[in-house]
Subunit: 271 residues, 2 copies
């Protein structure tokens, strides 16, 4: 008696060539297929919700597969995690309807693009954030998000050559979140110990999170949204210009695709 099982999969994508299986290189899908096949004693091929690129991370991607094995679906997470490397772990396993397909059902996905904004890079943040040292107008970035939220044809925010029926997607929410950084030698300046009164604000960095929830994302769309918001932050053009970028339906109109390692898939929800 076959059943369909859904895995919620978290991974650090640093050492993988992305989700999608490819010959001779490690991929998330490849590691899951091999370990599930060995564990369940039958050939398993998972279907992923999001085929993340090389270097992209996830707190909760979805993998679905069918099995004839007797092991209860909710026990698969425990058994599989014993075999998986420490940079890929199953957060949950559960049985789903036999016709459930994670890319053919209406869903909401949330992604986060993290930017370490400071004079210098931060070692402990280097694997899952993009380092930017140029001044950024955060208020302008926040203002630009308003033009991107809602239903639009996102052709300008999609890699050239992407073949999909429609490039219309809905962004439910797009936020630019900032955190104050807490570190360094605060309180040292202005004291007798420092010879020169170095400006206390010399260490001023912190993490900027671009968080987006939508009904689906085109190829490289989140990284192009982040690259565009960064250009607004650098005041290369005003926030309102983003509206024209959308209307251009031309990849050349929008900002650059920023590096993959700043991107994390946060969650997948069925609508």
């Amino acid at each position: 008696m076959s059943k369909r099982v859904m895995l919620t999969v978290a991974y650090d994508g640093t050492h993988y060539h992305g989700w999608q299986i490819q010959p001779n290189v490690p991929t998330i899908e490849g590691i899951l297929n091999r370990n599930l096949s060995e564990m369940l004693g039958e050939p398993i091929e998972v279907i992923g919700a999001s085929r993340t690129d090389a270097g992209v991370h996830s707190l909760g991607n979805i993998a679905v597969f069918d099995t004839n094995a007797r092991i209860p679906a909710e026990k698969i997470s425990y058994a599989l995690n014993q075999r998986l490397p420490e940079d890929i772990k199953i957060r949950k396993s559960e049985e789903v309807a036999a016709d459930f397909h994670p890319r053919k059902v209406e869903s909401r996905k949330t992604y986060e693009y993290r930017i370490w904004h400071d004079t210098f890079p931060m070692p402990t943040e280097r694997l899952d954030s993009y380092f930017v040292y140029t001044p950024l107008n955060i208020e302008a970035m926040k203002k630009a998000t308003r033009y991107l939220e809602g239903e639009h044809d996102f052709t300008s925010f999609c890699s050239v050559g992407t073949e999909v029926e429609s490039k219309v997607r809905t962004i439910y929410q797009l936020e630019v979140l900032t955190e104050e950084q807490e570190t360094g030698n605060q309180g040292l300046n202005g004291k007798a110990q420092t010879k020169d009164a170095v400006d206390q604000k010399q260490i001023t960095g912190g993490m900027i999170r671009i968080r987006v929830t939508g009904n689906g994302f085109l190829y490289n769309m989140v990284r192009i949204l982040a690259g565009t918001l960064l250009e607004v932050g650098k005041e290369l053009y005003p926030p309102e210009h983003v509206r024209e970028m959308i209307e251009a339906h031309d990849r050349e109109a929008a900002g650059p695709t920023v590096p993959a390692h700043g991107l994390t898939m946060i969650s997948y929800q069925i609508c």
Copy 2:
């Protein structure tokens, strides 16, 4: 004309045998000495504020050294960061008084011990948090912090064999901070797609941060404080028992030393 320079140093300690220089293995101090000596053309030996253990991270440790080089102190950060590996970066460099010694001045240090508390480990958090899956009584942990704050003889919270004049230290603040976790396939359960109504609370984990600020810490003290608070969280003994542990002046009385990789030095401040 010699000057004394202070560096604020951030590092991911994963690949180092701690701060203190040792033959034949990579250490933070060793990397700083070698790169500063090569760059400035004279032998440099830094003095650190905190000799962190192997695997411990820092957002702002302090390294002080004297140099005859003409480069302005505040430019050293830029030049040195060009040479340093990506897991060690200088956040700031500045000139300090010729007699400034980071361990001989009254200071406040803040450390954070991070615990990933969930059914399974989280790949993206694995390098700087300790994974705990057992249930924890967070309120009991918070209550126990009250007995540890203040001035105490912390002999029970210090590795045996530590040679220091006094084991009296002051903890200005000790907090147990929790964050709700945001991930997974929320909203999926209870929908038609799931065959079984799996409890929504199956994914319930998150990060617990034990944050402590004091005038100094004995060898392994923060890791023993964290290990003790975890035993309180596991309800092995009530929060009040921590008072007896302190009074015992015996390392055997307190909880275990939890692993180094959960620990991060957050900041150093002159009082």
